[in-house]
Structures are given as C-alpha cells and as structure tokens.
Amino acid sequence: MPAGTAAVAGVPPLARPAPARWRGWLGRLAPHLVLWPPLLVSVLHVVSFTAYTTWISFTPSTLLPEYDWVGVQNYVSVLNSRNWKIAYSNLVIYGCGFVLLTTALGLLLAVLIDQRIRAENLFRTIFLYPMAVSFVVTGTVWAWLLNPGIGIQHLVRGFGWAGFRFDWLVDREMAIYTIVIAGAWQASGFAMALFLAGIRSVDADLYRAAQIDGAGPWRIYRRVVLPCIGPIFIAVLVILLQFAIKTFDLVRALTGGGPGLATQLPTLVVYDLMFQRGLLGRGAAAAVMLLLSLLVVLLPYFAYARWRKRREARHG
C-alpha cells in the first residue's frame, strides 16, 4: 500500500548533517570502558577455567598439571570405577529427592506463613537461618542427630518408645536419604522465601475473583496462586538443582561418603581424585562429565526460557 502522497510531496530535500564531535565519540566510548571489563572478566573466568579443566582431562596430570596428550584414557578409567558409578547413581537419587523434598517443604512453609500468622518474622528467620551457617559446622551436628546411637533414635527411645527406629545414616540403602534430609533442611528456607515472594506478588484482584467464584483458601492456592507463580517454580528448581549438583561440604561433614561408598557424590569423587589421590587428569575428566550433566539440566531450561520469550513476544 503506498504511503500518503501528500506526505512525500511535503518532504523537503536533505539538509546537511550535523558535524561529528569528538566529545560525543568519547562520551559513547566511556560506557564501554566500564561495561566490558567486569563482564569480560566473569565471562573469561567461566570460559577459560572450563576450557582449562577440559584440557587437563586429556592429559596424564597427577600431582601437578602436565601437558601431554593421553586421549580419553582418563574418561575411560573414571567411567569404569565403582566410585563414579555409585556417585552418579547417587546424584540422580539425591538430586531428585533433594529437589522434590526441598520444593515441597518450601512451598508448604510459604503457604503456612502466608496465612497472616503472628510472629511471621520469627518463623521466617527460623526457617531461613540454616542458609546462614556453614555446613562444615552443621553437617557435624546433623551427623550426631541422625546417628541412631546418639541422636534422634536414641532420644526417642529414651522417652520410652523402645521400638523406635531411625537408622538411615548407617543403612547403606538409606544413607543417601539422610543427605537429602539435611540438604532440604538447609535449602528449604530459601525455597520458602522465593515462593513466599511469588505468592505475595500475585495480583490481589485474582484472589478477589476466586473468592467471588466461591473457592476456598486451599483451592485458591491450588488453582489460582500456584499456576500464577509457575516461573518461580522454574527458578527454584534450577537453583536447587545446581545446589544438588554442587553438594560437597554436606556429604563430607555428614557421612564422608560412607557407610562404605554408599553416599559418594560426583563432587566428592572429583575432589578425591584431584587432591586426595593426586590424579588431576582423572579428576578433571570427572569434573567435565559433571559439567556435562549440568548441561543436561540447564539446556532444557534455556530452551524453555527462549520459548517463553518467543511466546511473550508474539503476544506482546
């Protein structure tokens, strides 16, 4: 469709361009001088450290880095080791258990706290404080509490319930779940904070509308509020998953990977190979595989984020 003819007729010929000024040029450059260094530093740190580790994983490095090439030998021996197999299957169990339990706890606590309770501040602080304390410390205390001989089992039996059993910590099959419990104890406060933030930012009109529709409080949460905070679920899941994958201090303080090898996790294997056994190359191979598993989690998230952005762009 042609543009209005009147407009074309009214447009006068080109005027001369404004002279370029060096001050303007400098003014435009200055932001870049500030903008780029911190960005580049953090990008470089990620890229170069990852690349370096990948490189080391193909070398015969032991106590110190060496720079010969041995191909995929390190990967083969890591993949064949019992430790790694156990650690990896543990990561799946722990990852799922930790994320589910923490999300559920966080959500429950957030909903409870959202009931306009008294002493909200106190409860919130109680649930949040585990984030503030190092696991180097609390892991030891949890090891006592979960130990059947001195902890919860012992105490409950002391109250007279002689048949009470809670000995997961020393049970090879169940020990990994004690890590889940302690992990959830630490991180669920954070999940709670995120959920609570989400719940509180839902439009009040929605509550009114749901109320007029005759929905009770729990139905309002289930059908109206939670669907609204879908993006927060994604954020919580991603943050928790990276917590799960990076879990290290917790296991080291709580079980040290035991009983036996029952609670090994990939980060422990990486650290153990690199620094305990002095096999940098092999440890680097394990680290690279850990990162690859991270990508398995992150790529779907990025794909989702992209899809959401596209969808918003379409509707906006």
């Binding site: 106590l63 006592w144 130990n147 000995d167 910590l169 090879r172 009983p259 036996g260 002095g278």
Partner: protein, 426 residues
C-alpha cells in the same frame, strides 16, 4: 604453561649460584624456617609449638603456617605454593607421598646431616627407605605411632570375668563371643574410611606380618590372592558383625563413653587414643592396653610415622634454617619432648623411655617396635598412607570400607576386589 618448569629450573639454578656463598652467608644470616603442617590445635599443636620454641632458642626464626582441616587441604596448600614457585622450607608429608612429591619440585639432600647425626642406624629400615626415595635423604621422620594397639574396657573385662588381653585372634574371637553373650558390643569403632581400613591391616598383620609385607607393601599379586588375605577378610567380617550396627560415619571418640562404661568391649586404635581417653576425663584404670593379637607369638608393629620433607630454597637464611631444623628433628631431646606431648613414640630406637613422663603404653610400644624390627615384623600402615601412594591406598580402602558396611560381600569377593582394585589403580 612451561613456566612451572622454568621456574623450577630457575630456582635450581639460583640455588646453585648461591651455593658458593653459602658458607659465608650462613655465618651472617639468622636461620629461618617456613613450615606447613596440619597441626594447629590440641596436643599436636602444642608439640609443634614447643618445637618452634626450641628452634627459636637455637637462634632461628620460626614461621609455621598450620593448614587446619583434612590432610587434603594441607596438600592443596602445598601444591598451590609449589605451583606459585614458592614452596615452604619444610612441610609435613608422610609415606610414599614423599617420593611422589619429590618428583615435582626440587628437594634438599640431607644425607650429610643424617650421617653426621648417626640417624640412619637408629631408624627402622622400612621407615628409613620412605625418606630417601632416590637413595638420598630428603625427609625426616619425627614420631611414630603403633596402629595395632588393642584397648579393652576394664568394666567389660570384669563382666565376662577375663583378666588377660587376648594375644591371638582365636583368643580375641573367644573373648568377643563371651562379651556378646553378656550383651556387650564386642568391638568399639567409629566407622570412617581410615578406621575401617585400619581394622583390616590390624587383622592381616596379626595373622601374618610376612603376608602383610608381601601383599600390602609389595603388592604381590599371589600374596593378595593368598590365604592370609582371605583370613584377614574373614576376621574383618567378624569385626563387622561385632560392631554396633548403629555406628557409622563418626569419629571413634564419640563412642568412648560407652566403651568406658563397658557397653563396648574392645577398641583397636592407634596409641594416640590414650591421650583422647585421658582428655575425656577417664584414667588408665578404665581400660587395658596392649598390642593387638599376633598369631605367631612374636611382636608385630604396624607403623605410622609423621615426617617433614625439605624443599629446596635459594635464600640463605632458609637454607640455614633447614640445617638447624634437621638437626633438631633428629635430636633425642626434640624427639623426647615431642613424643611426650603427643603420646607417640620416638623414631629413634636408641632412646630410654624409663624416665618420668613416659606412659606404660609408650614404653610397651617402643619395646615392641625394637623387637618387631629385629623379628622383621615391623610393617607400614596402609590406612595411614604409609604403605602405598595415596592413589593406591584410596583404591584399596574403597574396597575395605565397602566390605565392612556391606555384609553381602563375601570374604572371597572381598579378596578378589582388593586384588582387582590394586591392579587397576597401578
């Protein structure tokens, strides 16, 4: 990244250049020592502090950087310092790791000093070997612990009516059986990796020190698949069955109260446990102490020793400090002072422990060491990283700790897995 090598070379060249000036420099500089260890608190901390004071009395400058935490953290620190081209003058390091680490950075040849002090003659030969990997002394052992020490709760003994420590595994098993019948948990333990590994080494060394030497120290495949190793796995299974199933992942000291009360019978632990028991407010009458059972009737000694490795330095004051420090570490005076503080026994086999300040346990252990050396029954501890490099040790302990906690694994399978772990880790 050739800079590491280049720096190493430069440091080496610099020290060569510096050498002619050494004599003159030594006269004028104040000896200085930079040292990394993990001894930061408790009696370990007290002992190293006392050593530092002696060093200062001798005119030295003492710069000790304790790296708290696990041994791994100390190694990380050492690695970081070596990579940075700035290793300490000396650092705590033990066992075969001395040889491994000596390959990545230049060390100091202490052979002259050792010869001058006559140290080699008074050190157990297996131990000496660890500290001179290429035939030259580059590290010095400081103190020794016996890991195959048996503690028995007096109260538990009284309940079963026993008075003597068991000297063979048969007697041990019989006593344990009696305790179990009395409702006592026969074996007190923690359940951490090294604790599990230690039980195996105590069993095997008691069954046959010779087999221990061949299988664990020399990694002889036939010995690893031999009957003694199988017997040790069987004994380890018995231990596991006698432990409190509720115990895992804890430091052994957490259960000392139950041990002293007689709820737990026997504790297999290094000599250092004496200090811990004393510290918790119990006294020597609460337990009996002796060598863990050895079936052939002769003393056997599973040896764990701490040592210092000396890193080459180009600064004359550090070089002077290293010489002074070496002299002190080898001296009777320092070894006595050190062992008295920590509860260990001296490295020197020519020391008199009859004097005041030594405990009966220490005297017994020192005697045992001498006799074990003579009987060729002094062996190096696996669980405490004395027998093999960290990598091999870790691979072997993986098998042992899993075996202790997974009763579905048979002794035959345990032996098989151990041999395989050694094979693949080599």
């Amino acid at each position: 990244m050739f800079t590491i090598d280049r720096r190493g070379l430069m440091a080496g060249a610099a020290s060569l250049l510096a050498a002619p000036h050494l004599a003159r420099a030594q006269g004028s500089v104040k000896p200085r020592l930079t040292l990394i260890s993990q001894w930061s608190a408790g009696s370990d901390g007290a002992a190293i502090t006392a050593l530092g004071r002696v060093f200062e009395q001798e005119g030295g400058v003492w710069q000790h950087s304790p790296v708290p935490g696990f041994t791994t953290e100390m190694m990380n620190k050492l690695r970081a310092d070596i990579l940075a081209g700035n290793p300490p003058a000396a650092s705590q390091l033990k066992g075969p790791e001395i040889a491994a680490w000596s390959r990545i950075a230049p060390t100091v040849d202490l052979t002259e000093e050792v010869k001058a002090a006559g140290y080699e003659e008074v050190v157990a030969p297996d131990l000496a070997k660890l500290h001179k990997p290429q035939g030259k002394w580059i590290a010095l052992p400081l103190q020794i612990y016996r890991t195959n020490t048996l503690f028995v709760s007096s109260k538990a003994m009284a309940r079963v009516g026993a008075t003597e420590l068991p000297t063979t595994w048969e007697a041990f098993n019989a006593l344990a059986g009696k305790m179990q019948a009395e409702g006592i948990t026969p074996v007190a333990n923690g359940g951490i990796r090294w604790d599990d590994g230690m039980k195996f080494e105590i069993a095997l060394a008691g069954i046959s020190p010779a087999a221990y030497r061949k299988a664990i120290m020399e990694l002889d495949d036939d010995a690893l698949r031999g009957p003694e190793v199988l017997a040790a796995f069987q004994q380890l299974r018995r231990f596991a069955n006698w432990m409190d199933p509720a115990v895992a992942g804890q430091h052994y000291s957490v259960f000392l109260p139950r041990f002293i009360k007689g709820e737990m019978g026997m504790l297999m632990m290094g000599g250092w446990a004496q200090g811990v028991i004393r510290h918790n407010g119990f006294d020597a009458g609460d337990y009996m102490i002796g060598q863990a059972p050895v079936d052939n009737g002769k003393p056997a000694f599973v040896l764990n020793a701490d040592a210092f490795i000396f890193w080459r330095s180009k600064e004359p004051d550090l070089q002077a400090g290293q010489k002074l420090f070496a002299k002190l570490v080898m001296s009777k005076r320092v070894q006595e002072m050190y062992s008295k503080t920590t509860g260990s026994i001296p490295v020197r086999t020519d020391m008199d422990l009859s004097g005041e300040g030594w405990s009966e346990g220490q005297r017994e252990a020192a005697r045992s060491l001498n006799e074990s050396v003579k009987a060729n029954q002094a062996v190096l501890s696996l669980a405490h990283n004395m027998a093999q490099s960290n990598q091999l040790t870790a691979a072997m302990i993986d098998v042992l700790t899993e075996y202790v906690h997974n009763k579905a694994v048979t002794p035959e399978q345990g032996r098989q897995r151990l041999a395989e772990a050694v094979e693949s880790a080599r």
